[in-house]
Symmetry: C2
Subunit: 430 residues, 2 copies
Amino acid sequence: MKNKVIIAMVGFGNIGSYFYKTLLKNKKLIALKTGKIPIIKYISAKNLKKNRKTKIPKSKWVKNSLSLVYLKDVDIIIELIGGSEGMAKKLVFSALKNKKHVITANKSLIAKYGDELSKIAEKNKVNLEYEASVAGGVPIIRSIKQGLIANKISKIYGILNGTTNFILSTMEKSGKPFNDVLSKAKKLGFAESNPVSDLNGNDAADKIKILSSLAFNKKISNEKILVEGIQNINLVDIIHAKSLGYKIKLLGISEIRKNKLVQRVHPCLVVKNSYIGNIDGVLNAIIVDGFPVGRSILQGEGAGPGPTTSAIISDLCSILRENINYPFGVSSLLRKRIQNFDISNHICSSYLRIEVKDIPGVLSSITKNFAKNHISIKNLIQLPDKKNKKADIIIITHENLEKNFNKLLLNLSKNNFVTQRPTFIRIEKV
Amino acid sequence: MKNKVIIAMVGFGNIGSYFYKTLLKNKKLIALKTGKIPIIKYISAKNLKKNRKTKIPKSKWVKNSLSLVYLKDVDIIIELIGGSEGMAKKLVFSALKNKKHVITANKSLIAKYGDELSKIAEKNKVNLEYEASVAGGVPIIRSIKQGLIANKISKIYGILNGTTNFILSTMEKSGKPFNDVLSKAKKLGFAESNPVSDLNGNDAADKIKILSSLAFNKKISNEKILVEGIQNINLVDIIHAKSLGYKIKLLGISEIRKNKLVQRVHPCLVVKNSYIGNIDGVLNAIIVDGFPVGRSILQGEGAGPGPTTSAIISDLCSILRENINYPFGVSSLLRKRIQNFDISNHICSSYLRIEVKDIPGVLSSITKNFAKNHISIKNLIQLPDKKNKKADIIIITHENLEKNFNKLLLNLSKNNFVTQRPTFIRIEKV
């Protein structure tokens, strides 16, 4: 590699412009640390004239993003467009095919096409780096590939989405309902104007798929996994959980059970004083259980220009130092598929809130539904709302199979005393 | 580098033998990940015949450890002897001089001779790796050098010694005094038979020196720094701290203030519900404040064969992948000395427990000592012990200068009402 390394970046939004400014500022230090001088020579984005705080220097502007991959002097393409399809996909595929190193912050692209992309990168002996795609400020990808390389990882899980963690912990602290807190999150820049993929768990699902693949040295799973978001979490659930000694957290969880992969993303009741229970606000935290290391925890800001830039520059330095590693730690040839564990056999205890008519016979009818499905009840709290002739029944169950809980929920939905779809939240041992 | 990489290890105690067994078990996976097969061909230790669970294979035994550095086929020397002088020092210096890569878990060696060793390694283009020397199971050194490379770090601090953290948190939970808990720690293998360097803070001081140097890209400080251990922490202090909303933790803290380096190791009162307040038992945790990343936290087991082996193997893999980096992240030529901040100008609030005679006039005399040194009192609790005609005065002060606290302690020691050397613990904002 030459002394000067030429970078083309595509995408110049919040993250892109922040990265651009930070790199300029840190160029000297990076050169000292890596022996190479990184130079952003080309910048492309959807629209040159968009109103930006940081203007794109005209001398660097390239209208046709895809043309960058054919420029001989370009060493590294940095993709900051986002999305698993369209321009981002075209750009990254064609950059790797043209033997350009690629840095991307694009979790959905990596979660969907990481295996294919990795193969091309390995064949062409270029880097595909994506530290920023999972928990920006937490150097988890590099830690799995390097710092924790010796370990047989059995479980990796954590809080992978800052937006939802902010919403849940702010609801708990302020006692304000979901929609109010969501508006606040948008105002503070902690939620996007369209936060659907954060709220429905898809964002965390992309991340846990990437982490699983790295932790267990397997191909990225393309099977359907259990993904539930926080849209239906009600303030009363958070309050009840608290009074029972729990907090509600949206977790991404991946583990190997009986040589199969259990991947899931869903709200969980976790013990209030547990480590993960104490992670509030927009923070991300990832827990790795491995042998021989034991339990390792990494925590930091998950998103935003600063943490994302920190991750992108660590990717860049890895390329500048000519550390060409397999994108997923081992050769694509060795990364086998792994079957998904049948989630209907997953075992957990759970929290249910069942809204019922407040008339005699209700409790007996509800508990019959539980008995029929062999689900035993650990705690039951009845909270009558006399004025509205309703009652909330809060139940903590003993452990049981996911499929039995599903049957129970079906039975409850057909129970004439039940006025609303019950809330069902799994309890996670953390 | 050849396909097979020959390793000579020196030291075969708990850590050494565990590493040896683990490497044998993981050889294949390491070869897959790095493309190189690591082979331990030579083992040396003080005594071949020592009673060990894992015997040293006779075919690998080399009596004269120092001779290993002259063997042509040896690529890597792993030093697991310990201590900053004697054989460990001789071995590591002479290995690097003879162009052998070195892996060491030896914090006192690196803290004392890291700069010199680094120079030799750089000149001879070999690696000097020491991930295991600080917080074994926490990949902090690699994270600073790689994952967090983009950041201007302003502060790095944390719980760096598992033995003392176990003792303090067990005293708090069990209500048992120091000596009882220390005995328990020894029985459980959490404290060495001679735990002096853990208890007096020197172990944590070595570690914070190494971390400072990495975080701030400076030479390792050889100036005297503030180091206080936990030997004088009394159970009553832990109980009082708790009732005031604090826990007592031994922290290593390093930050840049006015272009000078503030390094200190001492017991701290930290808010009970803070992150660091919740780290109990033998865990280590390190907090890095950097720009642009924000706050990053890494937590894990600090010592023991498993975590240490995890770190040593990550060092090994780095060498196998031929990632020859500067041992301290940047060239030795660029790492300048930095002056120590004059600790007497350090500002904090503090906790004091003053044992006094229970006679009239005491409080006025004591508070006069405070007033004289311009130290203002935030809380004062007087706890009379009528039977022994004594009283404990617990004081939380407002912020003031270290030098004023020193003068206060001197005044108090000369105060005729004071029966014992007062306990003085700094309160740390975390």
